[in-house]
């Protein structure tokens, strides 16, 4: 079958914050760039980000990038690479100012500068006290940012392929990436995108869990494509639980609530975070706060008839502040919890929110894999940016506001790197003869399937299993059981059956194709988690508790290293953490207290 072939200098997969910041850079430089997205660009999940973008503008209190750098390293539980973290924190003010110049509707201070609010783990003077660093547009920062980036791409004539799902990476005999296969959802037909460079900006895989703040589209498509193409996934055991997901709904309430002064209370009304984190209190990093909440619930101090949630109290902020700074939180309370947050506390629980791991990259966004003695050998023609990537700036735990920052900094950096390496003057490498065979066979298998399992039943079993075996508190036993279960579910996913074989906008067919990606992300998570015998950041294992030798269960002698999971044979490898920043002194290892 002869497939249509589209030819572009660069093909960006995903039109969220990272993808559109990158495509903007490329389009402005006059490159031929196409952006593929499963949804219309402004429906990408960046739209749901609420609280802010981290940057040490110092508009409201003294701040500088060194403090931001320190907070991010400490927040990452020292698993983040300090060169990448320095790069991100130094670039932060610049990318925020640029976004403002593009028309981003930031809130303002009386002097006309960008409004900033405090956020978890962000401190002044190396942990001394919270500092307002989150540049915010009310509690709709992600929405405002995504729309601004889309608008600028419209201005720069970026070509969008809307409602196209990328299926697989095309690599040539030398292993270089020369394009992708993709499916147009409206027609159900496949096509080839032949490119000098493919950039993944496909977001996270939060939908591998049953309870998640993530959108339905977050199925880890980039991770699946990478894993199937033999590329390892890094640090996938690290998943962030956001402290304040609405109980029983999963919908997120921004950390900006606590940034504006909201308080977490147990059933006795106690502000328990004062006990655990005397300095930062409710604004300690997310992994820390989530664990404290779980601890309160476990020890019988949870709220409600079943004692299974914590109360987020905004009532003392007053109607005016809430309606001005947190209007969406007010709306969400009303819609998803029947609670007027002005008048009463809202029930919350730690909820899966963000994937710290992903496709390993350099600080330019180039995908890097181990080859011989080199732990980071570049794969020609492939970049990854944003949540699908692991650069690694978030390490074992991301700080709030650093995700939107990550999208802007590395989206821009990847674009600049392509421009600097003169992509437009490079020749296209030829497509291999069998470029689309693998994708065609995957789709043909589904289209001719009979008697297999219903894709969503298998996906739901996976989500339940992940929730059970890779939750806030993990034990070695549950993780080991999880590996067995998840691998068994992945086997079942090899034999899916599609009832409706029609082509035109067949969403069941799309969802079935997504299942393959969910499976890779879940296997990576479960296998990497069970192998890491320590507690670090979001990976907290009961078996590895606080000891004199390993404070808080963190074992730097053995485990100060990045995990690399390969799909083939579920093989694991490791690579060192880069403790050396670009220009400043390293932040030395220390016990994490707040």
């Amino acid at each position: 079958m002869a497939l249509a072939v589209h030819k572009y200098d660069a093909v960006v997969i995903g039109a969220g914050g990272a993808g559109m910041r990158c495509s903007l850079q490329l389009a402005r430089a006059g490159l031929r760039v196409a952006v593929l997205s499963k949804v219309f660009p402004t429906r990408s999940h960046t739209v749901a980000a609420q609280g802010g973008i981290g940057a040490s503008l110092g508009n409201m209190d003294e701040d500088n990038w060194h403090y931001h750098f320190y907070d991010t390293v400490k927040g990452s539980d020292w698993l983040g690479d300090q060169d990448a973290i320095e790069f991100m924190c130094r670039e932060a003010p610049k990318v925020v100012y640029e976004l403002e110049h593009m028309g981003m509707p930031f809130d303002r201070n009386p002097d006309g500068t960008i409004y900033q609010r405090p956020f978890g783990g962000h401190s002044a003077n190396y942990g001394e006290k919270p500092v307002p660093r989150a540049c915010a547009a009310a509690d709709r920062t992600g929405h405002a940012m995504l729309h601004t980036l889309y608008q600028q791409n419209v201005k720069s004539n970026t070509t969008f392929f809307v409602e196209w799902m990328a299926l697989d990476i095309i690599r040539d005999a030398e292993g270089d990436v020369v394009g992708v296969t993709a499916l147009e959802m409206e027609t159900g037909e496949m096509a080839i995108f032949h490119a000098k460079c493919v950039l993944f900006a496909t977001g996270g895989a939060g939908r591998i869990f049953a309870a998640s703040t993530n959108a339905f589209i977050n199925t880890g498509d980039g991770l699946g494509m990478a894993a199937r193409a033999g590329i390892p996934l890094e640090d996938m055991e690290f998943w962030q639980f956001h402290p304040t997901g609405v109980h029983n709904a999963g919908v997120l309430l921004t950390e900006g609530c606590r940034g504006e002064g909201a308080i977490l209370r147990n059933k006795d009304g106690e502000r328990f975070m004062e006990r655990y984190a005397p300095k930062l209190k409710d604004l300690a990093p997310r992994d820390f706060v989530s664990r404290c909440m779980d601890q309160e619930i476990k020890e019988g101090r949870g709220c409600g008839p079943n004692g299974d949630y914590i109360a987020l109290d905004l009532t003392h902020l007053g109607a005016e502040t809430i309606m001005k700074r947190l209007p969406s939180v007010h709306e969400i309370g009303k819609n998803f919890a029947n609670v007027d947050v002005i008048k009463e506390p809202i029930p919350v629980v730690p909820t899966i929110h963000y994937q710290m791991g992903g496709i390993p990259t350099s600080i330019h966004g180039q995908v890097v894999v181990p080859k011989g003695d080199n732990p980071a050998s570049v794969i020609n023609g492939l970049y990854a940016i944003g949540e699908c990537s692991c650069v690694s700036v978030h390490g074992a735990n991301r700080l709030g506001t650093n995700s939107l920052l990550d999208l802007l900094v590395f989206g821009r950096a990847a674009g600049n790197h392509l421009i600097a390496t003169a992509l437009s003057s490079k020749a296209f490498k030829p497509l291999p003869a069998n470029a689309a065979d693998y994708s065609l066979s995957r789709v043909a298998k589904l289209d001719s399937s009979t008697g297999g399992e219903y894709p969503q039943d298998v996906a739901n079993d996976l989500r339940k299993s992940m929730q059970l075996h890779a939750g806030v508190f993990r034990t070695q036993k549950t993780m080991d059981e999880g590996v067995v279960q998840v691998l068994a579910i992945a086997e079942r996913a090899e034999n899916l059956s599609l009832k409706d074989k029609s082509k035109v906008f067949n969403t069941a067919r799309i969802e079935a194709l997504e299942v393959a990606n969910l499976m890779e992300a879940a296997k990576a998570t479960m296998v990497s988690a069970a192998a890491r015998h320590e507690s670090r950041g979001a990976h907290t294992v009961d078996d590895y508790g606080d000891t004199a030798e390993h404070p808080l269960g963190r074992n730097d002698d053995t485990w100060l290293k990045h995990t690399l999971w390969f799909s083939e044979g579920n093989r694991l490898a490791y690579k060192p953490v880069n403790m050396k920043p670009l220009t400043v002194d390293s932040i030395p290892l220390a016990k994490r207290t707040f």
Binding site: V47, Y97, R108, G112, N335, K499, S502, F505, A508
Partner: protein, 238 residues
């Protein structure tokens, strides 16, 4: 939470160009256990029963704008429509006035074409300062009620003027966006933005029917924004 099983009736517009059949309304009985807070939750359950039913969805919290549809005769987002507010029988149709691709999925090209036609981006070709362009709090407040649009198209597809002239009338969503940029103190393109709308159709086809205000799931008021634009044009002519 209630655990009682209730049966709800869904009547859903079905159309699949692949099967060659004409569009029909198909009736479904769905058992709900009370955990389906929103219409989208119930729809997901229904899709388990018949996975050929197609509709768009993503964030499930009313910020991405994917799951707009016509719910018992009124446009809205499935993810923000509480089941308790709906009668026993729920009738779902695609957004009116746009070509149907399949089932509840419409072709939104015309809607986005109108959005793009108003130059939806801040125009300011002066050299930016090293830091942010300053904007007073009062100036920033002018953007409230405008920038929050999620482009779900509930408003434009509830507007008779848009049904009749989707190619010529910008529609409430596009006009709300047009005013968002006029209202931005950082934008220097007001004159050409007004030129762009000075036309018997593009702006003046709005007859203040206000369906847009009635259906907006984000509580925005396109009619007010349109009024402001008309005012500016009148002032300019005077």
């Amino acid at each position: 939470m209630a655990e009682t099983i209730t049966k709800r009736t869904f009547e859903i517009y079905r159309y699949n160009p692949d099967d060659g059949a004409k569009p029909t309304m198909k009736t479904y009985e769905v058992e709900l256990d009370g955990s389906e807070r929103m219409l989208l939750d119930a729809l997901m359950k229904l899709k388990k029963q018949d996975d050929s039913i197609s509709f768009r969805r993503s964030c499930r919290e009313g910020v991405c704008g994917s799951d707009a549809m016509n719910i018992n005769g009124k446009n809205g987002l499935a993810c923000l429509t509480n089941m308790l507010t709906l009668p026993q029988k729920i009738t779902l149709r695609p957004l009116p006035g746009l070509p149907v691709v399949r089932d509840l999925i419409v072709d939104m090209s015309q809607f986005f074409k109108q959005y793009h036609s108003i130059k939806p981006y801040v125009v300011n070709e002066t050299v930016p300062p090293e830091k942010e362009r300053l904007q007073s709090q009062e100036d920033r407040d002018q953007l409230n009620g405008l920038y929050e649009c999620i482009l779900c198209a509930c408003c434009s597809t509830s507007c008779p003027s848009f049904w009749w002239n989707p190619d010529k009338f910008v529609g409430p969503a596009g006009l709300l966006a047009a005013y968002r940029f006029v209202a931005d103190s950082r934008d220097l393109d007001t004159e050409s933005r007004l030129d762009n709308l000075e036309d018997p159709y593009r702006l003046f086809r709005c007859h203040t029917i206000m369906n847009c205000v009635d259906v907006c799931p984000k509580g925005l008021n396109p009619t007010r924004a349109i009024g402001k634009l008309k005012e500016l044009l009148v002032k300019r002519a005077a």
